[in-house]
């Protein structure tokens, strides 16, 4: 039998700091998986731009000098790596029943299934968002935005790699099967959907993409922050490094929505329109009116809150107790980090009234993470409002009440306005279109989604960025179209 074995230099192809070259078992698993990943990327990755040269950031190491290498690359040739934050010697489990014990370097047998589930859920969101966004390239408002989309996409791809590494390295055959499944599920596919509901919706337009990266990727950031504290050290280290990349996604969202708002306000001022509700006149300027942007905020904010799961949950309590998933920024909190006797206030809607109930803190971890998330969103919203105020336009963007438009958790049956007014079902139905973008809003936004692909060109509805990527100007050729 003559078998031709292609010699692949995996250290070169897959930047890593996990000594991949010396780990035969892992190498074999990845050799099986990598071509399938590539196939998935070509099938389900950004449509129509696989041959373009994109000015991307590649992480080749975790030190400050190695983790952001900029250069032109074709996306299928992107070097997806396996990079973990450096090991902290003597690290201890910082919370839960095992607090103070040395962090686990191997999977603790008793928590194997729970840990695998956490990793699979996190891992599933990464390729899902690439699939959701795969058609956006065709309508990019500029080469700069196109490049940012692709940077988000390739990094979601790398986050998939990070989770697949954990599955393949630590979970044997089960892990390898789960890693395969991550490439087989498809966003929005009725037969094999992605695990979380919000990841099965297509991202229909660029404003939705920016809203998604601001609101929904921020959920990802909160989840990663919680997993970054995990007692399972390889997971903690993986998530810590992923967070540095996640920051770019937050940036794309915050500045994308901000630049949209900026352009709307500028256009209003130029045209002498002072009433933000003069929607028809504002839309005629080729920009998105602020009330529509507010409705998009309401939607993306509320559906993202659903991703946190039920506010009161024994699953979350178990994961915390087991030392697998902590609270947001656990080590910066000052308490006993076990929470056996603590309570946490959770808002409920009882008999038409909001009532705060003290729940056992362990059970209320999802509710708490959700509250931390709401607070984290405010910084960006505040910046948008400053931007509006600077132009002299009289309007404020606000995040809706946390009970608004919920499909999961304690508010599932309540009808609540963005301002927090509890309504009857009839009142809700009558006013829903004031608060959530209508089909017409969607059609209008869609009508603006004309590609703008000249160097330094920006679509009518969005302002150019204040600074470019990697110190480059706004009119840099961020994507060389093939």
């Amino acid at each position: 039998m003559n078998e031709i074995v292609e010699q692949v230099n995996y250290d070169e192809l897959i930047p890593n700091n996990v000594e991949l070259a010396d780990d035969r078992r892992l190498k074999r698993a990845l050799e099986q998986w990598q071509p399938k990943f590539k196939e998935w990327w070509l099938d389900m990755g950004p449509e129509g731009f696989q041959a373009a040269q994109v000015y991307l950031r590649t992480a080749v190491g975790v030190d400050p000098k190695g983790w952001a290498k900029f250069g032109y690359v074709k996306m299928p040739d992107y070097r997806w790596g396996i990079l973990l934050a450096p090991k902290v010697e003597g690290r201890e489990i910082p919370f839960g029943a095992h607090k103070g014990e040395p962090a686990w370097q191997e999977v603790p047998g008793e928590y194997r299934a729970m840990l695998r589930r956490l990793i699979v859920i996190q891992g599933d969101t990464e390729p899902a968002s690439v699939e959701q966004q795969r058609h956006l390239g065709a309508t990019a408002p500029s080469l700069y935005d196109l490049r940012n989309l692709f940077q988000v996409n390739v990094e979601e791809g790398r986050h998939l790699w990070a989770m697949v590494y954990l599955l393949q390295k630590y979970f044997g055959r089960d892990g390898r099967e789960e890693a395969e499944m991550l490439l087989q599920r498809r966003s929005g596919n009725a037969d094999k959907p992605r695990i979380l509901g919000a990841f099965n919706e297509e991202t229909p337009d660029w404003l939705s993409f920016f809203m998604f990266t601001f609101f929904t990727d921020r959920d990802g950031k909160m989840q990663l922050e919680s997993l970054a504290q995990s007692g399972f050290d390889p997971l903690s280290r993986s998530c810590r490094f992923m967070l540095t990349e996640e920051a770019h996604h937050m940036f794309v969202g915050e500045t994308g929505v901000g630049r949209t708002i900026q352009r709307t306000c500028e256009a209003m001022v130029e045209a002498g329109i002072s009433d933000p509700n003069d929607v028809e006149a504002i839309r005629a300027l080729g920009v998105i009116d602020l009330p529509t942007i507010q409705r998009k905020v309401n939607f993306h904010f509320s559906v993202t809150l659903d991703l946190f799961g039920a506010e009161v949950s024994t699953n979350a309590a178990n994961a915390f107790n087991a030392g697998l998933k902590a609270r947001y920024q656990e080590i910066k909190l000052e308490d006993d980090h076990r929470l056996l006797d603590d309570t946490y206030p959770v808002l409920h809607c009882v008999d038409g009234q909001f009532v705060e109930q003290q729940e056992p803190a362990l059970n209320a971890l999802n509710g708490r993470l959700c509250d931390d998330y709401i607070k984290d969103c405010q910084g960006g919203i505040k910046r948008w409002n400053k931007m509006i105020a600077k132009t002299g336009v009289d309007f404020q963007i606000a995040s809706p009440h946390k009970a608004f438009n919920r499909r999961v958790g304690v508010f599932i049956d309540a009808h609540v306005s963005p301002e927090g007014e509890i309504l009857s079902q009839q009142e809700w139905a009558a006013r829903e279109s004031e608060w959530l973008a209508s089909v017409e809003d969607g059609e209008f936004i869609h009508s603006l989604m004309q590609p703008s692909s000249g160097i330094g060109e920006y679509a009518s509805w969005i302002a150019p960025p204040r600074v470019g990527i990697d110190g480059k100007p706004g009119d840099f050729e961020y994507v060389q179209l093939a």
Partner: protein, 406 residues
């Protein structure tokens, strides 16, 4: 006022920052902190290690102000935008050092003396990294190529040396220099002095997207008191074999930088290996901005074509990219011609350029050329109703006139 020395203060632009906490995470000495509104840098703690710069997703982190009194944390936390650059104006008489290693800073100070001290960089220049690597912690580069780029028969042995940095990020811009640490010690047992060489490649590498750069190095050999003297560093570099390791410091220089806006006209005047930074700038234009509206003009002097570094490749550059004026002073049977003579021949063109606020003049090469070039500009101005002393002062203040000579 205490009359304290001006300090280069590291600041974060609150309008661009998205409060992602990455800088705070990446700072090894906890100099970055935050409140609900802003992320801020503690001027008393920051040691300019720049570890926070590349991880920042927004570029907000890369802001610097020259101040006589650093802004306090409390002040910074209140900001809604960065303060205006007023304090830089006040402090301009005490310019920021171009390199924080005194050794390299001193060399650049001498090289830039011809422009009347340090000037500001072109407004559109990218922000340079400086001093990422030091004598104590140099980057290790590997020689990937070393070939002669002057004719074999000539006295002038100039070499094109390609250094590869492997997995070590070595960020540089066109116009910056790097330091070479020659191995060994002098006869008193002290480490040899660092030598600076201008980078001859554009920022994305000698080969696009490769982590490498090229130097143009002239082998220094001369006779003193009847004995042949060989320059230590240049001979070390010129004799390097492919694969050899070299200790590199830097990059250095934060003023002699290429303007990044495509409307910029670049007048590049050089002799010998002074062409290195211009090769970098030209190549950047060629690769990424070949349709730029700004023009490139190169006035390059050498004794003969055979002694002009990169003569062959230069002659192949398309005319629409660059107005190439190669000037020779020792071609048998021809009159001696120096760059200043050629400048006078193109007085009309140069006068038009000088009237354009998008024109940037760069002079690089032997000290001896400075005066001649200056006189030629003065004469061109005089004949075209321009006031050279005033214009050159304006150009320097605007970062549009740069001299680097040795």
């Amino acid at each position: 006022m205490s009359g304290a020395q001006p300090k280069r203060q590291h600041l974060i632009d609150p309008e661009i920052c998205i409060r992602c906490n990455t800088c705070e995470e990446s700072c090894p000495i906890d100099a970055v902190t935050h409140n609900d509104d802003n992320y801020v840098v503690d001027a008393d703690k920051c040691e300019y290690c720049l570890h926070c710069i590349s991880p920042c997703p927004t570029g907000a982190i890369d802001n610097w102000r020259l101040v006589s009194q650093p802004y306090s944390l409390e002040e910074q936390m209140e900001w809604e935008e960065l303060p205006p650059e007023r304090q830089i104006e006040e402090a301009k008489t005490e310019p920021a050092s171009e390199a924080s290693e005194t050794e390299a800073a001193r060399i650049l100070e001498v090289a830039h003396a011809g422009q009347g001290g340090s000037v500001v960089p072109p407004g559109s220049a990218a922000k340079p990294y400086i001093n990422v690597f030091t004598r104590a912690e140099p980057a290790i580069a590997r020689v990937m190529g070393n070939r002669r780029i002057t004719d074999a028969g000539t006295e002038s042995d100039v070499r094109h040396i390609v250094l590869d940095f492997g997995s070590t990020a070595f960020p540089f811009l066109e116009g910056q220099s790097i330091g070479i640490v020659p191995p060994g010690t002098d006869d008193k047992g002290r480490a040899h002095a660092i030598r600076l060489y201008s980078v001859a490649s554009p920022r994305d590498g000698e080969r696009t997207n490769h982590n490498n750069l090229a130097l143009s190095v002239k082998r220094v050999v001369y006779t003193e008191n009847g004995e042949e003297v060989r320059g230590l560093a240049s001979n070390y570099l010129c004799d390097l074999e492919r694969g050899a390791e070299v200790k590199v410091t830097g990059p250095f220089g934060n003023t002699f930088l290429m303007p990044d806006h495509p409307e910029a006209n670049l007048i590049m005047i050089c002799t010998g290996t002074g062409a290195a930074p211009f090769r970098a700038m030209t190549e950047r234009r060629r690769r990424h901005f070949s349709n730029a509206s700004g023009k490139l003009m190169l006035l390059f002097g050498a004794r003969t074509p055979g002694e002009l570094p990169y003569f062959g490749p230069l002659t192949k550059l398309p005319e629409r990219l660059i107005d190439r004026q190669l000037v020779f002073s020792r071609v048998p049977g021809q009159d001696k011609e120096y760059v200043q003579d050629r400048m006078r021949k193109h007085a009309d063109v140069l006068a038009e350029y000088l009237k354009d606020e998008n024109t940037f003049v760069f002079i690089c090469g032997l000290k001896g050329m400075e005066q001649g070039v200056d006189e030629a500009f003065a004469e061109i101005c005089q004949n075209n109703e321009l006031d050279w002393p005033e214009l050159s002062t304006q150009m320097k203040a605007a970062g549009r006139y740069h001299v680097e000579t040795y």
